[in-house]
């Protein structure tokens, strides 16, 4: 036992701050990937050609049935294998984004199915193509209806983003590890990291709440 000394943290605030910044950036980027990917997956499974539908199902099933950590290893080491050399940061964002895209797709699929048939019929009668109907009429409504559960997934995404540190992406956990390698004080730095995640989490919950109230107001 060496006793705790949180004052060491003060000389590493720069590194920690960089970590917070990257965690926020990764979370926002991966969130975008997960929502856009989720829309594409949901539409492909519901309306795509059957040749596309079954591979998509299989893809979702595999992504839901295996740990994110394992998926990150596959993406990071697998893409290099087939000649695509991407930096760890990109691999992390893609992996995190795809993982949650599958969960968002599941929610959105139900959301799209729940939009009244009359909406499709009306849009088609007005001369919208099938794709336009989805793009301008159905998907926006489905997104509004599914905002709360998708928000829940984004909160999970923020926390799971800690995992990308294992493939060497610079973010909050990685920053803490850097500081620990110099100070040998894991307890202090991991606790600080946890506190910062907690604050980020509260901030994200606040933002999502504002969005949800806005969404409610549009009805």
């Amino acid at each position: 036992m060496q006793g705790l000394d949180f004052s060491v943290v003060s000389s590493y605030l720069d590194i920690i701050w960089v970590g917070v910044w990257w965690t926020a950036t990764i979370t926002v980027s991966a969130s975008l990937v997960s929502v856009l990917g989720g829309i594409l997956l949901a539409v492909a499974v519901l309306h795509g050609p059957s040749a596309l539908r079954y591979p998509m199902r299989l893809f979702s099933w595999i992504f839901m049935g295996t740990p994110l950590l394992l998926q990150l290893y596959l993406i990071y080491f697998g893409l290099v294998q087939i000649g695509i050399d991407i930096p760890a940061l990109a691999a992390g964002i893609i992996g995190l984004g795809l993982h949650f895209a599958v969960y968002n797709a599941d929610i959105l699929r139900a959301g799209i199915t729940a939009v009244d048939m009359g909406q499709t019929e009306g849009a088609r009668t007005l001369g919208f193509s099938r794709l336009q109907t989805l793009r301008y009429v159905i998907v926006p409504q489905a997104l509004l209806n599914t905002a709360p559960p998708i928000g829940g997934n984004l909160i999970a995404l923020l926390k799971e983003s800690a995992i990308v540190s294992v493939i060497g992406v610079t973010e909050l956990v990685h920053s803490a590890q850097l500081a620990i390698s110099e100070t040998y004080r894991p307890f202090e730095f991991y606790v600080i990291a946890a506190v910062l995640y907690y604050v980020l989490n509260l901030a994200l919950e606040g933002i999502l709440k504002v969005i949800e109230t806005r969404v409610e107001a549009t009805r």
Binding site: M1, Q2, G3, L4, W61, I62, G65, T66, P67, L68, L69, L70, Q71, Y73, L74, F77, G78, Q81, K159, E160, S161, A162, I163, S165, V166, V173, I180, R185, P186, F187, E188, Y190, V191, A193, A194, Y197, Y198, N201, L202
Partner: protein, 215 residues
């Protein structure tokens, strides 16, 4: 796909899968216990206990499980807690999933109609008796599904212990990816085992749900 390689490495993965199963079962048992205690706290009449319960759930659900494991395993020795990687993994995962399971339990208990409690109290049951004889049996049925969802998440979550050097399925996969440079084959083997576990688990949950919750 190099199926020969997949066949050769399979025995190693089977052994690692046993570690994952052991870890899942241990942390599931611990998680359920923690959840039961925290739920009791949160439904207690004492404000302090309620506050402790709420704080616990908020902290555990508001921070990444990975960080919790790191605090316990790497930070533990600084405050006099020396655990083996496996023990730290089981305890960390159990305490984390316990918070999520406590939410599921509380939700199920609150979902039991208030009239049931009122009627039991009017009939002269004590608070404790009301909970044990009237509310819990009904809530237990409502808990099976949500707790099952948590259990499935837990099995996938066990992959995190590979970062504190527990030789589980993910650790083994990572090692073999590093040594063979065949990420797709290795992923396929590990994925099949994870999905088999999750499939089996979901069948157990289905069975329990049909056996006890179908009314």
């Amino acid at each position: 796909m190099d199926f020969g390689l997949m066949a050769r490495i399979f025995p190693f993965f089977l052994e690692a899968a046993l570690v994952t199963i052991e870890l899942s079962l241990l942390s599931l048992a611990l998680g359920l216990t923690v959840a039961a205690v925290i739920t009791m706290f949160r439904l207690s009449r004492l404000r302090t206990l309620r506050a402790i319960g709420t704080l616990y759930v908020s902290l555990m659900r508001g921070t990444p499980c990975l960080i919790q494991l790191f605090i316990l395993y790497f930070g533990g020795p600084q405050i006099g807690i020396n655990l083996s990687p496996f023990a730290a993994g089981a305890i960390g995962l159990g305490m984390n999933i316990g918070a999520y399971m406590a939410e599921a339990m509380r939700g199920a208990i609150l979902a039991v109609d208030r009239g049931q409690t009122e009627a039991a109290r009017v009939l002269g049951f004590s608070r404790f008796e009301t909970m044990r004889i009237v509310v819990l049996p009904q809530a237990a049925k409502l808990m099976i599904r949500p707790l099952g969802v948590n259990a499935v998440a837990l099995v996938k979550g066990t992959a995190l212990v590979s970062t504190i050097s527990v030789v589980d399925l993910t650790y083994t996969a990572q090692r073999f990816i590093g040594s063979t440079y065949k990420p797709f084959e290795i992923f396929a083997v590990a994925a099949i085992l994870y999905m088999a576990m999750i499939y089996a688990l979901s069948k157990v949950v289905d069975f329990l749900d049909r056996r006890y919750a179908a009314a």
